[in-house]
């Protein structure tokens, strides 16, 4: 076996590892509310989320994978070193922000990593302006849409349940939350796993392992979904237990409105091929639901941290990836 093939296998494993960590880290977003309302135990909730993470492999398209694979940078300059640097940039930035508790997006870190490595490799001309502009705009649009949709849905729910006994409403929303959490997990699975698929597919394409035309092989689709689902199963329950206790102020109806509206926003972005942050989208949904009660009920400190993350993630991960590429390119 030659060294080049070994390097490709190593980078594919690294990309799947990135996907695994994504599942590990984001599991809490989709199931925290059903744990806090005791609809499911943490273990059951994590199995529920992982199942829908994996099922998302079927029938939801690969538009996001295509955007990541050939819509951010010119494929002609992609090689093993560039993808390696992009992944290292994203992973290092994720670890730094995880240590300091900044809620950043792995997706944006990956895009920043691609941009940074490409800039050092071949200059600004290889950046596809339209793809970067669409992705950057949706960093703001997607949580804002989650917010707007959640406000309307929460208001509609309040109106529909104005004369319903709280115990009856509780029983209904306990079941509805199973559906909304499943929908969110589908959205998370498909949008996030597709970023990994895009990275792996472009690597295979540019190293001649994919034939003459760019496409995402079925084994890449299944392994990316399996990695994110395994990540959710492996470590999610620990985070879910913490999150489930922390978000006890959310009523079941609030959880339903926030999850359903965020799921719709993520699935919409997936269908139009735009990689979005699932964490930031559900944060927008939760802020929307909280705002219908009282604006001061929203923890604005969290919202400000999200804005800081918006501004910092792409340039910072790009810088780490650029530095990594410069070092790797010496060898």
């Amino acid at each position: 076996m030659d060294w080049e093939l070994l390097l490709v296998i190593f980078i594919v494993a690294l990309a799947l590892g990135f996907d695994f960590i994504n599942g590990f880290h984001d599991a809490a977003n989709s199931v925290a509310t059903i744990v806090s309302t005791r609809v499911l135990t943490p273990t059951q909730a994590v199995i529920w989320a992982a199942f829908f993470n994996f099922v998302a492999a079927f029938g939801l398209g690969i538009h996001v994978a295509n955007t990541i694979g050939k819509g951010i940078i010119e494929t002609s300059i992609v090689d093993e070193k560039l993808i390696l640097a992009a992944l290292v940039g994203a992973i290092v930035w994720d670890i730094i922000t995880w240590r300091v508790g900044l809620p950043t997006s792995s997706s944006h870190a990956l895009i920043g990593g691609l941009i940074g490595a490409a800039l050092v490799s071949a200059g600004p001309d290889v950046i596809i302006k339209e793809g970067v502009e669409r992705t950057s705009a949706f960093i703001v649009i997607s949580p804002m849409v989650g917010f707007i949709a959640a406000v309307f849905l929460a208001l509609a729910v309040m109106r529909l349940y104005a004369r319903v006994a709280p115990s009856t409403a509780q029983g209904v929303f306990r079941r509805l939350q199973l559906l909304s959490a499943a929908a969110y997990s589908l959205g998370h699975g498909t949008n996030d796993a597709q970023k990994t698929m895009g990275i792996i597919a472009v690597l295979l394409f540019t190293t001649g392992h994919l034939g003459g035309e760019f496409h995402v092989p079925i084994w890449v689709i299944l392994s990316a979904h399996a990695a994110i689902a395994a990540g959710t199963l492996a470590g999610g329950w620990r985070i879910v237990r913490t999150m489930g206790l922390r978000i006890t102020k959310l009523e079941p109806s609030d959880g339903f409105a926030a999850e359903a509206s965020s799921a719709a926003a993520i699935l919409f972005a997936t269908q139009v091929g735009i990689p979005v942050s699932t964490t930031q989208t559900i944060a927008g949904g939760i802020i929307g639901v909280g705002s219908t009660k009282r604006l001061s009920a929203v923890r604005w400190g969290v919202a400000i941290n999200i804005v800081i993350a918006w501004v910092l993630t792409i340039p910072a991960s790009a810088a780490v990836a650029a530095l990594t590429f410069a070092i790797v390119d010496e060898f």
């Binding site: 502009e133 669409r134 705009a137 703001v140 649009i141 804002m144 849409v145 917010f147 707007i148 949709a149 406000v151 309307f152 849905l153 509609a156 729910v157 529909l160 349940y161 319903v164 009856t168 409403a169 029983g171 209904v172 929303f173 079941r175 509805l176 559906l179 339903f256 359903a260 509206s261 719709a264 926003a265 919409f268 139009v272 705002s291 219908t292 009660k293 009282r294 604006l295």
Partner: protein, 61 residues
């Protein structure tokens, strides 16, 4: 049994209502996106800020 039937009716009504609320929002979003990235960006930001302002007025009363 009566409570269960009522819960089933409410379950269906809520699911239908969620579809009726969310579908037009995302249909409009698609139309705005087709009109241009600047259009969808501006509209969503203005709508979000306006909604935030209105909620502030309502919830401070």
């Amino acid at each position: 049994m009566r409570i269960l039937r009522r819960q089933i009716r409410l379950f269906i009504a809520t699911a239908v209502m969620a579809a009726l609320v969310l579908t037009p929002i995302f249909f409009a979003l698609k139309l705005l996106l087709d009109a241009g990235l600047g259009v969808v960006f501006g509209t969503v930001i203005v709508a979000g800020l306006l909604l935030g302002y209105l909620l502030r007025q309502e919830t401070m009363r």
